[in-house]
Symmetry: C2
Subunit: 465 residues, 2 copies
Amino acid sequence: MKYLYILLLLTGTTLQSQQTAEQQIRAIYDAALTQGKAYDWLNHLSNQIGGRLSGSVQAEQAVTYTRKQLEDLGLDKVWLQPVMVPKWVRGTPEFAYMEGKPGMTTNLPVCALGGSVGTPLGGIKASLVEVQGIAELEALGRDGIEGKIVFFNRPMDPTLINTFEAYSGCVDQRYSGAAEAAKYGAVAVIVRSMNLRLDDFPHAGSMSYGETPVAQRIPAAAISTNGAELLSTSLKLNPDIKFYLKQSCRQLEDVLSYNVIGEIRGSLHPDEIMLVGGHLDSWDLGDGAHDDGAGCVQSMEVLRLLKTTGYRPKRTLRVVLFMNEENGLRGGHAYATEAANKGEKHVFALESDAGGFTPRGFSFDCSEEAFRQIMRWKPFFEPYLIHQFVRGGSGADIGPLKSEGIVLAGLRPDSQRYFDHHHAENDTFEHVSKRELELGAATMASLIYLVDHFGIDGPRPIKGK
Amino acid sequence: MKYLYILLLLTGTTLQSQQTAEQQIRAIYDAALTQGKAYDWLNHLSNQIGGRLSGSVQAEQAVTYTRKQLEDLGLDKVWLQPVMVPKWVRGTPEFAYMEGKPGMTTNLPVCALGGSVGTPLGGIKASLVEVQGIAELEALGRDGIEGKIVFFNRPMDPTLINTFEAYSGCVDQRYSGAAEAAKYGAVAVIVRSMNLRLDDFPHAGSMSYGETPVAQRIPAAAISTNGAELLSTSLKLNPDIKFYLKQSCRQLEDVLSYNVIGEIRGSLHPDEIMLVGGHLDSWDLGDGAHDDGAGCVQSMEVLRLLKTTGYRPKRTLRVVLFMNEENGLRGGHAYATEAANKGEKHVFALESDAGGFTPRGFSFDCSEEAFRQIMRWKPFFEPYLIHQFVRGGSGADIGPLKSEGIVLAGLRPDSQRYFDHHHAENDTFEHVSKRELELGAATMASLIYLVDHFGIDGPRPIKGK
């Protein structure tokens, strides 16, 4: 009888806890959709500040602006975490053409890849060799490559439903193409933009020379997908085509920048930290609205939504706007290093860095046990059409926090249009839907709330509610 | 032993059938994403033809174009089904302003609602009365309304995740507002556009005078959401504001038009018809890319995808591009009437009329038993992130086919941005993503394939595969 009573009492508590959670989540979505702030913040970041490349004046402005906005939210603490970041500058706009016969030229849209060296002042003109990937370089050998420009033209695989998988399958050309081609004496590399759509925007992104000595580093540029198609077709008709490239980008000394951090101190377990974040830096061609202005303002909105709905977290909730995800990940590393030095205990970290599109779910990098527990929360998200709960990568910035105890998570928005905009001139505010952005923020806030309410090892809601 | 053998045999067959289905669906998606035709067709419909209002020359061109395209697919039969359609014309662009004091005017973006009468040549100028819905009219009574323009300003509810529900909650103002306000002596109605976003586009859409005698019909126009906000705020500051409206739209005689139909004859059950369709007509302000050019080209693509992947349906598969969904539904009624007269047996009908956005699933209007059976196919769609299988409305055009035996279905794309474009000047081709459109077509083709492969009452795949 006593046991039955306890059982009833427990079941009652759990049911009530369950209903509380449903109501809190409904309140979060309502607040996001009726009086959200994320879109206004993004408007400022995108249209008043613009592209926020690490070390740029815009990145500095973004630090100042978001710090002020977090302070205005009345958080318990807002601060800047210093971090030295690389400063790469594009210089004057790049210029490229292909030349069929001397004097017969067609301009092609290109942009320098982040981290690339420039060309000599007069540019580089050379013959081309087209390859589908790094593996083909060895077969061509020095005989086939020396003195030439290597044109990496493997497209993203359109049959992959998750476009991030298609990106992963191609991005080695961009990241390591120059270092690999230089080994065979190439004078430059041109890489097909990481974009599934055929259009005229070249897409930036980081590259690395790896161990290549400074003297052997060759310029690397992206070409738009339409440009790549035209170049490839032209090469088939006339393999003697010359390619001309001029770019004046260069790497300067590292400069001081900051991660922007704010927190609500936990009421019960202040030493257990839940983190939510995105990265404040972006590439310079667009205004970085999707990558990753969206993730920053959504992360800020998570704290605002919990405050505005009257929820005081039991654990400390921290928003981190990381600096330098795009070309160095210095912010992510600095944050994790300081956390380790201070012996801080992070129990959960959620990153939004896949664009401000309709949220579909989350990926989790955690133990089997933690994942099983999180899966029990799926029914809470059903009314909001959030259905994807998968194991997988979380986010680059929170990656360095990885340890045994922590659950790392990444928001999974619809990915179909992300690479239309990624790192390109058309990653701009007008391509972000207010509702989609807000739904993402509410979805993130709901997950953070559930982590705090139930705890990853705490009481569990009833399955199948 | 004999039973065991039969059981194993059956299980073997089912497993094989299951694997065949998985492979066929993969082939459909691959074909859609690598060599799809839907986007090219939509480009022509949108950019070469444009808005296709019933009875317009563009609607006629769309009939000719799509018939030719279907013929080129090598279907077994392509034909036109005659249908008389209403012909409403907008006339010269509408013009409206609000006037604080005489001579102090602010122009506001409006458009006539489809089916509305025009204003007198010199326009209408009158005081305004703002209401949140039809229910408020009675309380205001003739005293509060006579001689005035009624301004219906109830916004769509942003907290509803499915934006079609928010639309349903508002559209009575647009459809019946004029008929209801006329009963109290209103001289015109202005209706807030059915749009969740604040912007400057007025959204058209059909309205009806119901039983209102011709002499008592009053003009009805939509105002953009920004315009509605400005007007409402201005009215609060100055209730004496006058509103001026001029529009020259009118209803002409019905004209002859067509449903465009093509079919692949069933190899085993030619008398059982599976239908897939959208509507070829659109409003006139944009180019009707999402509503419903997308649904038309996706439906055409369903037949092409099955052909190109080498699948010959057992049942007859028919594509129907319906005429006049927007302001009359004459095509849908004509089709169902002729089908009934001929005693045709439709077993399944699928409509795409919710935009060319990322597909999320389907809604089904059918028996419990049929729904249970369809739910068993859900796992086939998991790799493609298709997760919504719900009971609910299907599509306006296929609605008249409803009978006991048939399963009616509607494609459910992501709905967040649909009403940003719906019936407005910005429902244009550049707002359709090629991949999203193609994924929708593949999803529809896969469902049609499953219906044909397993049959709605045939053998069932193993649950949970």
